[in-house]
Symmetry: C2
Subunit: 379 residues, 2 copies
């Protein structure tokens, strides 16, 4: 089966320009502070209390400097010869961007580098009122392990990241449930561990006794070796083979997992949510818990054998950012809230979550993981 | 004690321009292939059989495009409107660079991003005749684990990378020796695991039964929280405290180490080699094996109590790239080969290695690790 995922590519490309549509009528608040997403020792970009971002670009001989955020101020040369410009107020959370420089689009050399929008490049973190839930706190930490395994179906060494919860190495008799967690289109297996803050979110939830400790496995969600490319003809089959036939057996052989169906979940964002829906519905004996973040929803009519599904499924969780819903932007596959309610009426453990004031971006998905994790693997 | 490390900063800044000094008299060989260090799906930069690198930069309105490699060709606009230019033949191995664009120095958006020269930015990999020893092969793989621990002396959560060898999780009764392995000035704790290929080198050596399996721990070698900054006034004390008083106890408590002195080594490159020399000589009861890569050497006169040192030390390994030696460039602290021989004469297990045809760059240090590892922790 070919999945037509083009609408997701469109959403991802829109993401960098989401946020308030306020225009530049007023002067920005002059309480700029260096962004937490900056490279070591870099003062710029700076963020102010309105959520605006101010850039400083050294390009002495450039004719034209700008940034990919829409509705930004013109960039002008300061007294030090560097170029300065700032954005409109942006949503809380994480936003990819690039610098425009005489016709080039390049990473901002002052930003840390993140993989999204099909490239390693710059992004900026806007402080959020609820940022403590994904902060690196002084609590017991799990480990994020980079592993490689041989995939026979693709004849390649494939990278996965595995989060093991605090105490994993100290309790050699304990076994853990596993969540397979997928990134979105244009992203890769680094996304959840870096900008997604999956490690910090889990460490903090576990420290507060809000979730059962479990393992998380993150892998690249396609099999095109040059990476990315068109979504139009994306065939989920080869990825499904890697995940179900190769990665899961590898993880169960190399980590202390609870390897039965009630202890295995899959979730993903955007394209990864769509992959989750397809793969979990096709493999009900493999997965018991389903999470779809900004990636469509599951209608009762999507389920072939409702009685069998009800017997084996333990959770269907669907989420969106509030700015993805309503208005004139159609939600893929129908009203997700109505679908969630219908599932509940049909006797399924169905949850629907809306992240306040966020769009198709990582702040929505960080919060989705925070809401999803405590619902998993209940005794 | 303050260490004056300025000469290393100089060497590091020179590194990107090292290589043959052949001028651009002949046309380059037209056998260009995409570099292995490119971002997914990127055709450029390309490398040819002479070790030249060819760049393609889209910057339609730029007046001037170039690259930080000295003696590169002028960049000119191609028929597609993009800018093209190429380097002189470069040494085999790994080289940091940046793109120059109308007065800006920016990462090449087509390159993967590496931390060195004090920034996350671009680099290019020139295929080496011996590249198989650091290739990702189909052998049993260890894990590279990102961990965070609380450092009381700096009141901060500090990141370390820990390589656990293949079989670590499968043999819960086995304990392992530990190597603490340091990066150079302007680099950080990612260096050895990414461009240093420490994981691949160890996996391959272990698969060939050339080394005993051991754990490697990598941490940022300074304590300035904004990172980097001047070397002139660098004080090694705070880092020594983090390493010896905090990181080692953390590792011994959280990994299955052999925690006695005979099973603990320290090594490092450039600044990290100098740190290794200072810290191991100050802490002879903590470390038994010493590796100094392109970072000076150890003279008999550096050792305060030779008899005690001989009783506790099991290895002193010093290495350089051949292009760092001889000529009119003075080697820091005297002739390293003569020092190594004098140590040997004094009854110390002293080894000296020279990497052929390489300079103060990662190819020297990859080979140094390959030569050093098999000498460690012999029964």
């Amino acid at each position: 089966m070919k999945l037509r995922l083009l609408p997701f590519a469109l959403l991802v490309s829109l993401a960098a320009s989401s946020g308030h549509s306020q225009t530049q009528t007023n002067a920005p608040a002059e309480d700029w502070k260096p962004a937490s997403s900056n490279q070591p020792g870099k003062d710029y970009p700076k963020v102010n209390s309105e959520g605006r971002v101010k850039f400083r670009i050294v390009a002495t001989n450039a004719q034209n400097v700008g940034v990919t955020f829409r509705d930004s101020s013109p960039f002008t040369k300061g007294e030090d010869g560097a170029w300065y410009g700032y954005t409109r107020p942006l949503d809380e959370g994480f936003h990819y961007y690039a610098i425009k420089l005489d016709g080039a689009e390049v990473p901002d050399p002052s930003s840390l580098m993140f993989f999204g929008a099909q490239r390693w490049g710059s992004a900026v973190e806007i402080p959020a009122k609820d940022q403590d839930f994904y902060a690196l706190r002084n609590v017991p930490h799990g480990q994020l392990r980079e592993v490689f395994f041989y995939s026979k179906s693709t004849d390649s060494q494939r990278r996965a990241f595995v989060y093991t919860p605090p105490g994993y190495d100290q309790n050699p008799e304990q076994r853990y449930p596993v969540l397979y967690l997928q990134h979105g289109w244009g992203e890769n297996e680094y996304g959840w561990g870096v900008q997604g803050r999956a490690r910090e979110i889990m460490d903090n939830l576990i420290a507060e006794n809000k979730t059962r400790p479990f393992i998380i496995v993150m892998i690249y969600g396609m099999t095109n070796e040059t990476r990315m490319g068109g979504m139009r003809d994306f065939d989920i089959g080869p990825f499904e083979t890697v995940l179900v036939k190769e990665l899961i057996p590898y993880v169960d052989a190399n980590f202390r997992t609870l390897s039965d169906q009630p202890n295995r979940a899959m979730a993903g964002l955007s394209m990864g949510g769509m992959e989750t829906r397809t793969i979990t519905l096709r493999n009900p004996d493999t997965f018991s818990h389903i999470g779809v973040f900004s990636g469509g929803s599951i209608a009762v009519t999507n389920i072939t054998d409702l009685a069998a599904f009800k017997a084996g499924n333990r959770l269907v969780f669907v989420s969106y950012g509030s700015k993805e819903l309503g208005g004139d932007r159609p939600t893929r596959g129908g009203d997700p809230k109505a679908h969630a309610e219908a599932l509940r009426q049909a006797g399924i453990n169905s949850h629907f979550y809306v992240s306040p004031d966020t769009a198709h971006e990582w702040q929505t998905w960080r919060r989705s993981l925070r809401e999803f994790a405590p619902l998993l693997f209940k005794p």
